[in-house]
Structures are given as C-alpha cells and as structure tokens.
Symmetry: C2
Subunit: 368 residues, 2 copies
Amino acid sequence: MELDVIARDGRARRGRLHTAHGAIDTPAFMPVATQASVKGILPSQLREIGAQIVLSNAYHLHLRPGEELIQSLGGLHRFMGWDGPILTDSGGYQIFSLEGLRKVTDDGVEFRSHLDGRKLFLTPEEVVRIQVRLGVDILMPLDECLPPTADAAAMRAALRRTLDWVRRSQAEPLGPGQNLFAIVQGGLSPELRRECAAALVPLGFPGYAVGGLSVGEEKKVTLELADLTAAHLPEDRPRYLMGVGLPEDLIRFVGMGYDLFDCVLPTRNGRNGTVFTWMGKMNIRLARHARDPEPIDPECACYACRNFSRAYLRHLAAAGEMLAPQLASLHNLHFYQELMRQMREQIAAGRFASWAASRLAALNAELA
Amino acid sequence: MELDVIARDGRARRGRLHTAHGAIDTPAFMPVATQASVKGILPSQLREIGAQIVLSNAYHLHLRPGEELIQSLGGLHRFMGWDGPILTDSGGYQIFSLEGLRKVTDDGVEFRSHLDGRKLFLTPEEVVRIQVRLGVDILMPLDECLPPTADAAAMRAALRRTLDWVRRSQAEPLGPGQNLFAIVQGGLSPELRRECAAALVPLGFPGYAVGGLSVGEEKKVTLELADLTAAHLPEDRPRYLMGVGLPEDLIRFVGMGYDLFDCVLPTRNGRNGTVFTWMGKMNIRLARHARDPEPIDPECACYACRNFSRAYLRHLAAAGEMLAPQLASLHNLHFYQELMRQMREQIAAGRFASWAASRLAALNAELA
C-alpha cells in the first residue's frame, strides 16, 4: 500500500490510497463506527456525503459481538453493510484508558471488560488475529499508551515494549489485501517521538500512524509534536494522525503532511446539538435559534441544510426527538467531508496556504 | 374533498383523495409525527417507502413550539420538510388522557400542560384556528373523549357536547384547500354510535373519522363497533379509523370499508426492537437472533432488509446504537406501507377476500 501522491503544496499532499475495497482520496476523514455503526447514520448516507473509509474498534468488537461471530457472517464489511475500506483501531488506547486494575507484562495486557467486568488478556498477536478475522483493510497494532503525565523512565520502558509488540504484530500472517500500520508513540517527548519513528521506519510498514496526541496537553504542544513527528516519516507512505480533531486542527495537520484522520467530534457533538459551520461552532439548542429560518450553515449543501431551519432543529432538540441528533450528526459529518474535499482541491490547485489562512480566520481559530 | 373510488371489492374500497399537497391513494396508512417529526425517520425516507400523508398533533404543536412560530416560518409543511399532505389530530384524545384535574364546560376544556403544568383553556374554535395557522390539509375537531368505562348518561352528555362543538368547529373559517373532518364517537354503545353518525352526516363533512375505539375494550367489541359504524357513513367520503392498529387489524378494517389509518405501533415497537413480518411480530433483541444471517423479513425490500442481518440488528440493539431503533422503525413503516399497497392492489384486482384470508392465516391472527 503506497500513497499515490497526485499533488504537493508545501508539505501538504493530495493523494490516493488503494485498498481491496476501493480507493481513498487523501487527505481523508474517517467517520467513527466504534461498535460497527456510525452513530445515527446509515451507510448509504456515508456514501452520499462522500465518506470513503470508516474506522471501527477491534477491542469493542472483540467484546461484543465477538470477531468470530462477525467472521462467520462474512466479515465486518458485510456485517455493517459498508463495502468501502475499513480501518480498525486496536483498542490499545481504550484498554489503557479503562478504570481499575490493569496488568501489563511483556507478553500482553490483562484488564477487565468495560461491559461486564470479566477478566481478559490480550497479546499483540491476538489483537492482529482479531482484525484478520474481522477482514478489515487496515489494522493497527496493540501498543502501550501511557498518560502524558508519565515520567521519562516509564515512557521509555513503554516505548521499548511497544516496539517489541509491533515487531511481533508484524510477524503475524495477514489476510489477502490487509495492511498493518505502525503507530509512533513517545508521549510529549520530541526525542522519544524521533527514536520511535527511527525504529519503526526501517521495518517497512505500509502506513504510519501517530498516536497519543491531543490527550490533554496544550494545543501548542500537540501542534509542535505532530509537526516534528511527521518529518520523521517516509514520504511515500500514508500518515495517519489518530483521534483528532476540530476543523481548524485538521487544516493545520494537513499542512504538515498528514493524510488520514478520525475523530468522534462530528457525531458526539452532533448528539449534544453542537454543529460545525464555516463561521465556527454553534449550539442549536440555544433559545436564540427558536425563530431562525436559516439553515445551520448557508454555505452547506447537506440534507439537513437543504431541508430544515435552525428553528426546526432547535424544536426537535427541545422536544427530545431522535431526528435532532441524527440531522446534527449528518450535517457535521458532511461538514468534515466537505472540509477534506476542499483541502484536496486546494492542494491540487497549489493554493492550500492562502485557502487555509482565510478558512482559519473565518473559523476564528486562535493560532496556537 | 370527495373520495374518488377507483375500485370496490366487497365493502373494501380502493380510492384516491386529492389535497392541495398531492393525492393520497387509499386505503392509506399515515405515519405519526406527533411533534412534527416521525421518530427517527427523514422525510426523504418517508417518500422512499411510499408514504403519501403524515399525521401530526395540534395539541402538541400548540404547546411546543407553538402554531404562531410555525406559521411565521411558512407553515407546518415547510417547517418539517414534508411537502405532501398533513392531517393533524386535534389532541382531544391526549387532553382527555392527561392525569390530574381537568374541567370541561360547554365552552371548552381547561387542563394543565403535560410539559410544564401551566393552566390552559381550549375551545373548539381555538383548536380549529390552531390547525388553520399550521396550514394542514385535514383538520380534526376537538371532542370530549370519555373512558370506555363511563356510564350511559355521561356518554350521552359527552356526545351532546361533542356534537355542539363540531357545529361550532364547522362555523370557523378554514384556509384555502383545508378540510375539516367530523369524528364519530359514542363509546362502546352501538346505539350512540348510530345516533352520532346520524347527527353528523347531514352536516356534510368532507370526511368522517371514527374515534374512541381500541382503547382497552376486547378486540371482538372493537371489530363489531367499527363494522357497524362504517355502515352509517356516506359512501362518497373518506372514512378514517383513528389510532389503529396491528397489521391483522388493518386488513379487517379495510375489509369493512375504512380508508385512512394512523398508529404509533410501527415506530414505538421499532424503538423497542419489535419488528413486523409477514409471519408475525419478532423481537430483534432476543439471543436467538445473535448469529442469524437472514434479514428481518426475507419478503421485504426495505433498506434494512436489503442491507442487514438480524444478527447485526440484534448487535446494534444490544450495544445501544441509535441505528437499531432507526432501522427497526424504517422497516416497520415500510411494512405498513407495503401492506396498504398490497391491499390497494388486491382490491383493484377483485381478490381482496382471498388475499386477506391467506395473509391473516400467515400472520397467525386469532379471528375475533
């Protein structure tokens, strides 16, 4: 899996990734389907808004309904009715965020299910095998995620283990057309980030993710670390910045040369009534929208903006109607897809920097 | 508004009703949009499944967001993004089902809002004016709904008042293209039902509803009263049986000559995981569906049945994903629309009775 680079503009790249389930135009945003469902959104709607790949979670699907059940029904694509590419996160981040006791050894990690408290043990090999059974296009290895407050010695030990685990993950056989990415960790240390990338790149992965950022540190730090880490990654492989972010963040990260993104914000915010617009965020529940005949965003061509006023959406939210989170999530995901589409267009036209400056100004983003 | 009768088969009629917002092929089922939204379903999906008219509720919209707000935004059609016909129930049934004190006088009804407890007073005239402001195609008058356990004297008094109210409702001016139906009440008394119909028919309404049935009485009683009441209604006007029912009930009521129906069952059951099939109802949450690769109903062509297995729907429901109630509601509404479509087809072909017998047998319905 090479990144077919179609155009470059500064460090930003407009590319295409080919998978067994179709191509992905990059930079791309992956809607999040943690439990094999993008919350409130049909696969046909994902297609309509231009999504080309979705992200699911191996840990969540392992717990419920189980990868063997999904495999016996023809794999994750058929199970969730999505015939485009799928990337699964390993769930390492989720496992290491769980409350309660957790025991990490060189062999793997012991933890308790967040669903029923039963004790589970996962090795890096098993995490790959779960994703092989799911039949996804892009797999992520298990890694040890420490909180950003961990000390340097703990960070270095976790990194050593993560590198050992990724080598063991790489030794597991994959299914046809499957690709295992590596994840650059290293907490908030520029030196550890460099070391981790330097150890991973010679192993020759089809793609490189950057994990453990935007986990509570200052925005300025996130941007600096994302920037310097990207510089350590190969030019001809896709770069996936995990779990970020706001629209203004995505514009900056694309400018650094990242190609893939995922984030729960469009759907989670949508469920709370927060919608994204080219003028910034807006809470549709506020009384000020009660009589507003305008759509969420007059620039937007999504189904919600073509058909409904802010007043109607506010009424739905106030009345507790399911259609409120559905329409707000649909709008937000459409907004993110349109943001990526515009970035691809601007990179191809060699106008990314000026477009980004004007969009960032309109979004009223504070420069970090 | 006359009923354009295209075909008759026994007492069943296949017809067409013309409104300012398009035609309705009858017998027709109206999805319920109490608060200006069919729960979990987009207007474009209503169109896709063949719905031609939706039902909303004047009382609910009066309380929130208020008919003046809706009128100021261009009326209910534009507000909810549905350009087909809309019928509003008056909300009399809801008002008379409210807990707590309620005072009925000849003038109108005093009650407390179910949202915030504030005291409200509605007259029959005001209830018509609310619906005129909403701009709906078919309006329903305020009536006094007694529980089926009320004694004969109370029933007769309520009926006298309801007849007085409907005359006052009829005297209110309507907007262009609007139609006020009358409602036949009379509780569980065949004699009162006959008297009520005999009083209403000479007043010349464009359509006649039958209310106060299926409110707790035995199914046998519902069927008998619906049957005898239909016989008192004019042949050339649409007959609307309010708030029913199960698929097997609709088949029987169409056989009696009813044309319009509404019911919350498809969406309410869908939200609980209960789905309708040609073999009867099924609860998609049950463990027995965990590995089932079949769609909800192999005979069904809805989006959910074309794309997803029972196993996936069961997983969504178990995981608490919004898509579970959305897909189950979509399937159920599609099922109801398909049921009506088949009935229209069978009536036109003169095969309704044999079709009904075979469908009722398959649905395993107990003959009342």
